[in-house]
């Protein structure tokens, strides 16, 4: 069989096409802005200024980005193994339970730097276990992992409502959430980091140490995927289950391990909003961040660097979107949800739509750059 698409230079493949897809997504989003009677260009300016104009904005942008890095990495790790983990939302939500247990029982005993590692482990463990069941069902019973992870999102939501309302909520309290964490379970802020760059004093942004953890995880995921034996096996299975079988890689093992890593990363995303911001575990604290991970992973082409950049972009949208809704009351933060959908549509489902046109363009500009290497050989 010949390759379905002729080869483009790498920069076009990894840079130009994603950018074109992204641009189209934003153009369509601009049309929505137009539809509600606002000027999309002015909206863009407000958005960017809101996100990066002041230290406060940057801190918030990075705070949001932190969560998205975790969820994006989670989706990407599964993608590399050919699996679609739509269950990040539920895995993160359940991880909140692990965090609650650790924080509520230890926050009066341990300082944050001792409690944080335990909380990370608990979050990762709970997320991993919640991903393990769909993984096992896929590997052993052949149930479609997409469907089971969706179902597990809802099951997780039910469990968490039950736990928060009926079990964990302090007696007499109204809100379905844990009591507030004490100092031991409150992560230190990183706002000083931004102030170092000459920005004015940041008053109250929740930008915290888990951002560093997210970057470390991004690096570890890079290490895992491209530098470890396990990552090598995951990629082999992801590209060609047949080649994996040939190479003696166990299908069951690789699916279970990959999904547990993916679930652990989703679990860690719960650290940022709970210990970093609200200082409790509340109803719906994940609020869709698990799904943002899908957009982030698709946009970042499942590479940690791309994911960090895409996360910052989405962090910008969340923060700038908040500012935007002050200036343009018609555009609430739900605009981001549209953009998220459009990014998933154009960078994911329609990722090849513009490829033929771009290839034709390249072919007409410089025929040599579009090598038809290996096309049809051995067919």
């Amino acid at each position: 069989m010949s390759a379905p698409y002729a080869k483009l230079p790498a920069w076009a493949d990894y840079g130009l096409i994603p950018l074109v897809n992204l641009a189209v997504a934003f153009i369509v989003a601009g049309l929505v802005v137009l539809l509600v009677g606002e000027n999309p260009f002015r909206a863009a300016v407000i958005l960017v200024e809101g996100a990066f104009g002041r230290g406060q904005g940057i801190a918030y942008t990075l705070f949001y980005a932190t969560t998205f890095i975790f969820s994006g990495l989670s989706v990407a790790v599964a993608f590399h193994c050919g699996l679609f983990n739509i269950g990040g939302e539920g895995q993160g939500y359940i991880a909140g339970l692990g965090i609650a247990i650790v924080c509520l029982s230890l926050d009066s005993v341990l300082p944050w730097y001792l409690l944080f590692p335990i909380a990370i482990a608990a979050a990762a463990l709970f997320g991993a276990l919640w991903a393990l069941i769909p993984a096992w069902l896929q590997a052993k019973r052949g149930s479609h992992i997409v469907i089971t992870t969706i179902m597990f999102n809802f099951i997780a939501a039910s469990i968490m409502v039950y736990m928060l309302v009926d079990v964990i909520k302090p007696v007499g309290a109204m809100a379905p959430q844990t009591r507030n964490f004490l100092d031991g379970a409150q992560l230190p802020k990183l706002n000083w980091l931004i102030e170092l760059f000459g920005f004015a004093k940041i008053r109250s942004a929740p930008f915290n140490i888990s951002f560093i953890l997210a970057l470390v995880m991004a690096w570890l995921v890079w290490l895992l995927i491209w530098r470890t034996k396990l990552g090598y096996e995951m990629r082999t299975y992801g590209f060609s289950p047949k080649a994996a079988r040939y190479a003696g890689i166990s299908e069951t093992r690789i699916i279970l391990v990959t999904m547990m890593i993916s679930g652990a990363l989703s679990g860690m995303m719960a650290l940022n909003p709970t210990m970093g911001d609200q200082h409790n575990v509340a109803l719906d604290f994940v609020s869709g961040a698990g799904f943002v991970g899908i957009a982030v992973a698709l946009m970042g082409r499942s590479h940690p660097v791309g994911i960090v950049l895409a996360s910052i972009l989405f962090g910008m949208l969340y923060q700038g979107g908040a500012e935007l809704s002050f200036e343009m009351p018609n555009i609430s933060r739900d605009m981001i949800v549209i953009i998220q959908g459009l990014v998933i549509l154009f960078a994911g489902a329609l990722e090849h739509m513009f490829r033929p046109a771009i290839q034709a363009l390249f072919a007409s500009l410089s025929p040599k750059s579009v090598g038809m290497a290996e096309a049809g050989k051995g067919a």
């Binding site: 929505v32 149930s143 099951i155 957009a295 018609n330 959908g341």
Partner: protein
């Protein structure tokens, strides 16, 4: 007779709660039977709900509302078709995208157009589909047993409820008694067989997703114009996914789909009725348990522990002419 009245009331709300599930479930049936997976039922239903409520309140007509709901829902279905049929994109990714676009744009447009925090204006009686009272329903209301059953359960629902339940035999008939149905089932199992028989796989699948759009549009209209008097943000609240679960639970068969949706609707009705009050034998059952039950049952079914749900064989795989 207290128990009897409670039973009738519970069944009545079971019917009301299962209608949107049923419509969405049948919607998914058309698409998935043709080999196009659709996890975007939720989004299409939401968009349909918004469009119908918005149009109904602006044009003061329930029918225009219904039409607009269907139109918008079909438009989104065509986007899914464009991505997954024409461009052979990933059907899961495309479905996820549509859910987000619908979730976001209903709120943004609602706020921009009506300025009520994402709601549409409350619909006046003439702008909704009213309950249809069957002849004699009032007359025999007080007859024991038959009275409540006839006047509460059978009579007194909106047109869309009857449409939903009539859609079940209709879908069965379409699927198993018409040429379109034969081809639809064939293309979801073996598109190459359809192609070599001289039938266009793409056009067939497009027609299937259009059917899906029509039904999710009606489902949305029901939510916004019958169950509620207007659109509230995120009013589908996962019903599209329960419908998907019901579809799997029903093994992609229309009559099974009705029973699956009634079951899931019943669980919902019970959960609402109990609200934490204890059951006779089991004791207190958390509401959340009842709410999670459809999903748990689906997972158990998918795992093959109770029967085996075998999806249409060509489902999720874009059709490429083989060399």
């Amino acid at each position: 007779m207290d128990f009897f009245n409670v039973a009738v009331q519970t069944l009545d709300s079971t019917i009301r709660l299962s209608v949107p599930l049923l419509l969405a479930c049948l919607a998914g049936l058309y698409s998935e039977r043709s080999g196009i997976f659709d996890i975007g039922l939720e989004g299409k239903m939401l968009a349909g709900a918004f469009a119908s409520a918005a149009a109904a309140s602006v044009f003061h007509s329930a029918w225009i509302g219904l039409g607009m709901g269907i139109l918008i829902s079909v438009a989104l279905a065509l986007v899914h078709g464009f991505a997954s049929i024409t461009h052979r994109g990933n059907q899961i990714v495309s479905g996820v995208a549509i859910n987000f676009v619908a979730a976001g744009s209903t709120i943004i447009l609602g706020q921009a157009w009506f300025q009520q925090g994402g709601r549409t204006p409350a619909l006046a009686p003439g702008e909704r589909f009213e309950a249809i009272v069957f002849p004699g329903a009032d007359a025999i209301r007080d007859v024991p047993i038959i009275g409540p059953i006839y006047s509460e359960l059978i009579s007194g629902h909106s047109l869309l409820v009857y449409i939903a339940f009539l859609a079940v035999p209709f879908t069965w008939w379409v699927l198993f008694r018409t040429r379109f149905g034969l081809r639809l089932r064939a293309v979801g199992e073996n598109p190459a067989a359809v192609d070599t028989a001289g039938i266009s796989v793409e056009w067939l699948r497009y027609r299937a997703v259009i059917c899906t759009g029509i039904l999710t549009g009606i489902a949305g209209a029901y939510l916004a114009m019958v169950q509620n008097a207007g659109f509230v943000k995120d009013m589908t609240a996962g019903k599209g996914f329960i419908a998907l679960a019901a579809l799997i639970f029903a093994k992609w068969k229309p009559v099974n789909a009705m029973f699956a949706c009634l079951l899931f609707g019943f669980l919902d009705a019970i959960a609402i009725r109990l609200q934490g009050s204890p059951l006779p034998v089991i004791g207190k059952v958390p509401v959340q348990f009842m709410q999670a039950l459809p999903y748990v049952l689906t997972v158990v079914l998918l795992a093959g522990f109770i029967g085996k749900a075998i999806p249409p064989r060509a489902g999720g795989v874009p059709y490429v002419k083989e060399r």
